[in-house]
Amino acid sequence: MADASVATAYRSIVLSRVAAQASYRTSFAIEVVSQAFIVLVEFAEVYVVFHQVDKLGGFSYAEVTLMYGIAVSAFGIADLVVGHLDQLPFYVRRGTFDAFLLRPLSPLGQLVTSDFSLRRVGRVVTGFTVLAVALVAVDIDWTPGRLLLVVVTPLAGAAIFSAVFVATSAIGFWVIEGTEFANAFTYGGNYLSAFPFTVFGTVVRRFFTFLVPVAFVAYLPSLALLGRPDPLGLPGWLSWSAVPVAVVAWIASAAVWRTGLRHYVGAGS
C-alpha cells in the first residue's frame, strides 16, 4: 500500500516535468530534432571509417552498424531517464539537493524524476532506426534465443548505462567538477561501446569490460547475435550475460551512491 503511494508521488513529479517541457513547443521540437541529429553526426565517423576500409577490427560495416545501433539505443534510453544525474554538483550548489533531503522520499528517486527530459527521446528514436537498418543488413542465423536477445539487449544496455550514470554522478558528492569526470565514463563509455573491442588496447578493454561493463552493452551481445566467438578469447557465455551484468552493476552503483550520500551528509557543504 505504501509502495503504491510512493509510485503516485513519483508519477506526479514526472508528469509535472513533462508538462513543463511541453509548454515550450518550438524549443522542445528543435531540441528533439537536434538530439536526433547528434546521432547522425556521430554515425558519420562510422561512415567515414568504412569509406576507407572494409573491416574494422575484423568486423564489417553492417556488423559495426549493428553495434552502433544497439549502443545508441541503450544509451539513449539511459540518457532519457537518468542523463541529468551528472548535474548533481549543480543541484548541490543551488540547494535543491538539500530540499530533496527534507522530503520523505529517496533523494536518488527525487533526483531521477526531477529532470526527466523528454527531448532526449530524439536520440532513442534515431538509435532504434539505425538498429533496425543494421538488423536487415547483417546476416543473422535467427533462433528463438537470438530473437529474445535482440529484444532484451537494448534494455539491459540501458540498465548498464544507467548504473554507470548513477555511480559516476556520486563523484559529484566529493568533487565540484564531478560532471566532467562523470562524463568521461558515461559519454566516453557510450562512444567506445559502439565499436568492436578488438581495436582497443588491453588496459582499456579490461577497464570497460570488468570495471565499467559497457562491453556488455553492444559488443558482446553482437557477437552472440552474429554467432561469432570473441576474437580476444572471452568465453562465449559472457556474450549472453548482459542481464546479470546489469543486475550486478546496479547493486554496485547503488552502493557507490549510498557511500557518496553518506559522505555528503557527513562532510556537508
Binding site: V6, T96, D98, A99, L101, L102, R103, P104, L105, G268
Partner: protein
C-alpha cells in the same frame, strides 16, 4: 521536549591555499559543544553573526548534516538516521533556497508536495485553502515560481513547509530581503499558526522586530558556542543595549546633556539634531520624549533600535 541537543559538535575540514601549489588542511569547529532543548509550542529565535554556526545547527536538526559528536533528537527521532520519518513531522524554510518548482505555476508545487508527503486531498486541501486566504496568495497561484517576487515566493515557501501540518517549523532567515509589508504579513501568519495549532517554531534571523514579535526565547551562538539562552529583554538588559532617541529641534539649541535617564551621544548642526541614548529597561521612549519636549520645541523625532549584531557583539565582549 521536541528538540534536544546535547554537547553538539560539528567540525569541517577546510583546505586553504598555502603558497602556489601547496594546500594545508585545517579543522574548523563550526558548532562547538552546543546544548539546548525546546519544549513543544515554544517559539525560539536562534541568532548570531554570519558564520557563528546557525546554519550548521539547523542542518543537524533537520538531518541534512551528521554531527561530529553529541546527541540530537528532534520529535524523538535521530535526524540523519530517520530523515524520511522526520521529514513528515517537520517543515523547513530556507530563505535563500527554494523548495518550489521554479518552472511550474505555484499551485502545482503544492499539488506535488502533497503527493510527495502522500497527503489525501481531504487533509491538505483545507490547509492549503486556509494558507491561500491568510497569505493572500490567490492572485499569483497560477504564476510560474520563477516570475514571483521574493515576498510572494516566501509566502509560497512557508505554505509548502506547512502543508503537511508539521509539529516543528524551522525557518532560516525567512524575512531576509522582504519589504516591510511582506515581513509583517509573514509574522502575523506565524503568530496565528502558533496560536491555532501550537506549532513549535525555531527561526534564525538578523531582524530584531522578527524576534520582538515572534519569540519569547532567544538562543545566541557565537563562534560555535551558545552564549545566551533567555528572553529578549533579559538579553538587552544584560548587555546594556541602548535605544537612541534622535531629535530635530525647531531652531539650534543647547546641548541636551541633562535629560534624566539618558546620555547625550552626539550633537549635529549646531544642536539642530541631537542623539540621546537610554536603557529601555530603566526608562521608556515616551518619558524621554516628554522630558525633552519640556525643555525645547521639537520638529521631528525617531527612535533607533539596538542592532542585533551589535547586541551579540556586546554579549561576547561582556
Amino acid at each position: 521536549m521536541i528538540v534536544e541537543a546535547r554537547d553538539l559538535h560539528r567540525e569541517f575540514v577546510v583546505r586553504r591555499a598555502a603558497g602556489r601549489l601547496r594546500r594545508t588542511k585545517h579543522t574548523v569547529a563550526a558548532v562547538d559543544g552546543v546544548t539546548f532543548s525546546i519544549a513543544p509550542g515554544e517559539c525560539v529565535g536562534y541568532i548570531g553573526a554570519n558564520g557563528a554556526g546557525k546554519s550548521t545547527t539547523i542542518k543537524m536538526l533537520t538531518g541534512i548534516l551528521v554531527p561530529t559528536s553529541g546527541h540530537v533528537r528532534v520529535c524523538g527521532l535521530e535526524p540523519t538516521r530517520e530523515r524520511a520519518t522526520l521529514a513528515r513531522r517537520i517543515g523547513a524554510v530556507f530563505g535563500q533556497r527554494s523548495q518550489l518548482w521554479w518552472d511550474l505555476p505555484l499551485r502545482e508545487s503544492f499539488r506535488l508536495l502533497a503527493a510527495i508527503h502522500r497527503l489525501p486531498a481531504s487533509v491538505w486541501q483545507p490547509r492549503f485553502d486556509e494558507c491561500v486566504a491568510l497569505l493572500d496568495m490567490a492572485p499569483f497561484l497560477e504564476t510560474p515560481v520563477r516570475q514571483l517576487s521574493l515576498g510572494q515566493r516566501m509566502r509560497g515557501e512557508v505554505t509548502a513547509a506547512l502543508l503537511h501540518s508539521p509539529e516543528l517549523l524551522v525557518l532560516d532567515e525567512p524575512t531576509i530581503g522582504l519589504d516591510l509589508l511582506s515581513k509583517e504579513a509573514l509574522r502575523a501568519f506565524l503568530i496565528r499558526e502558533r496560536r491555532e495549532r501550537g506549532t513549535t517554531i525555531l527561526l534564525t534571523t538578523h531582524d530584531l522586530p522578527d524576534i520582538e514579535r515572534l519569540c519569547e526565547r532567544l538562543l545566541v551562538v557565537d563562534h560555535g558556542h551558545l552564549v545566551f539562552d533567555g528572553s529578549l529583554p533579559a538579553l538587552v538588559s544584560r548587555v546594556g543595549a541602548e535605544r537612541v532617541l534622535v531629535v530635530d529641534l525647531v531652531e539650534p539649541g543647547p546641548a541636551l546633556d541633562d535629560v534624566p535617564g539618558t546620555v547625550l551621544r552626539s550633537v549635529e548642526a549646531d544642536g539642530l539634531r541631537q542623539h540621546l541614548a537610554f536603557q529601555p529597561d530603566r526608562t521608556t521612549a515616551a518619558e524621554v520624549v516628554a522630558a525633552v519636549s519640556a525643555l525645547v520645541p521639537l520638529r521631528d523625532l525617531t527612535v533607533t533600535e539596538p542592532d542585533i549584531e551589535d547586541v551579540v557583539r556586546r554579549l561576547y565582549q561582556s
